[in-house]
Symmetry: C2
Subunit: 217 residues, 2 copies
């Protein structure tokens, strides 16, 4: 990381965005991101790939002041939850296969797939996921949620906003507070807003600690 | 998606990259991506955030021709595994907490964190993860692997390369073939190379299908 200078932002340059994105915990409490802009951000983020194009990710976006205050309590009283313009709750739909027919019907209509293919594919994929061991199922939907969440954080940064992905909150209390249906699994909450203090710096393991060529010994 | 024309690429523009990244299954079998470039790609990708900065992601990068051929067999004979310049296996280290001290010592050395904070933080984080229910542990490491994988796919695209994330392979056979130690959980394999045919098009659910404001009914 050679450039710690935020003056290059906002930018659409991928490398700048990846280097300059840091988790930010202090937000301008007055700043409002419009619903229209949040819609646009999600529309682009969901271009991420997903297992069998299942798109199991779901987004609950909390903008109501009183709800954000209550959500803060559920999240260990971390102030950024109340202060952010919005808090995304990123969830996985454990019954995502109920929407597979909708997804692949639209692919047929767009001319991307023959109807005959779709008619076989949808029940096969559904059976595959329903038979998957629970652990692997959770891994798959969580991984896909990570893909879309990363796109969302980069998009936010490109617009001059900041985010902080948080896993530290009480899942049961969050589900009660926000009436989360049983088929939706909350993964992280992601406050987003106009940062007013730079993020805490952090280091990374050297590449040789995480990269192995070809085979383990 | 208004622009299906690849001529705007390679580009570093975030929006172009997100719109134009598609899973590609046909690669130039002669094209070689250098080890140096792969190192650089991973070095940037791991700027992704992770739970407690745990960086549980690990990368096995298969470039050996004979190994790629065998890996193809493990992956349902899908030809892209053999044809790609390299195949990333993205894994989660289930004992990532063994590296927490290394991570946070380097943060102390960089001046990002007082040593006293680190001395309390590392054992607390370790205890937290060791006590986490297995399912939630898997969700957390898989989600973080998704974050880094998305960065990797976008970086690849910005360099004019293509990728295809694949979950459909035999995990046990892959572990045997590549001598994967027991603490490493393989998530996806990601062939990367010079695409020679455009990716299959796919559609996305409308935003209103995946986005809810404030609270579920």
């Amino acid at each position: 990381m050679t450039n710690n200078n935020n003056s290059v932002l906002p930018s659409n340059d991928l490398y700048t965005l990846m280097r300059e994105r840091h988790s930010v915990r202090h937000f301008d409490t007055e700043f409002v991101i419009s619903e229209e802009e949040i819609n646009e951000m999600i529309e682009l983020a969901v271009k991420a790939p997903s297992s069998s194009n299942s798109q199991s990710w779901r987004f609950l976006v909390v903008t109501d002041k009183e709800l954000k205050k209550q959500l803060k309590i559920v999240a260990d009283n971390q102030q950024q939850v109340e202060d952010a313009s919005a808090v995304f709750v990123i969830l996985s739909d454990m019954k995502f296969y109920d929407k597979l027919d909708e997804i692949f019907t639209s692919a047929v209509e767009a001319g991307y797939m023959p109807k005959e293919f779709k008619d076989e594919y949808v029940p096969n994929v559904t059976k595959y996921y329903q038979a998957l061991p629970k652990e692997q199922f959770h891994e798959s939907v969580s991984f896909d949620a990570g893909l879309v969440a990363m796109q969302l954080m980069l998009i936010a940064k490109s617009k001059g906003y900041d985010t902080v992905p948080m896993g530290g909150y009480n899942k049961e209390k969050l589900k009660m507070l926000l009436n989360v249906p049983d088929n939706l699994l909350p993964l992280i909450i992601l406050p987003i807003g106009k940062g007013i203090q730079p993020g805490r710096r952090s280091t990374r393991l050297p590449v040789e600690d995480v990269l192995t060529w070809n085979q383990f010994k």
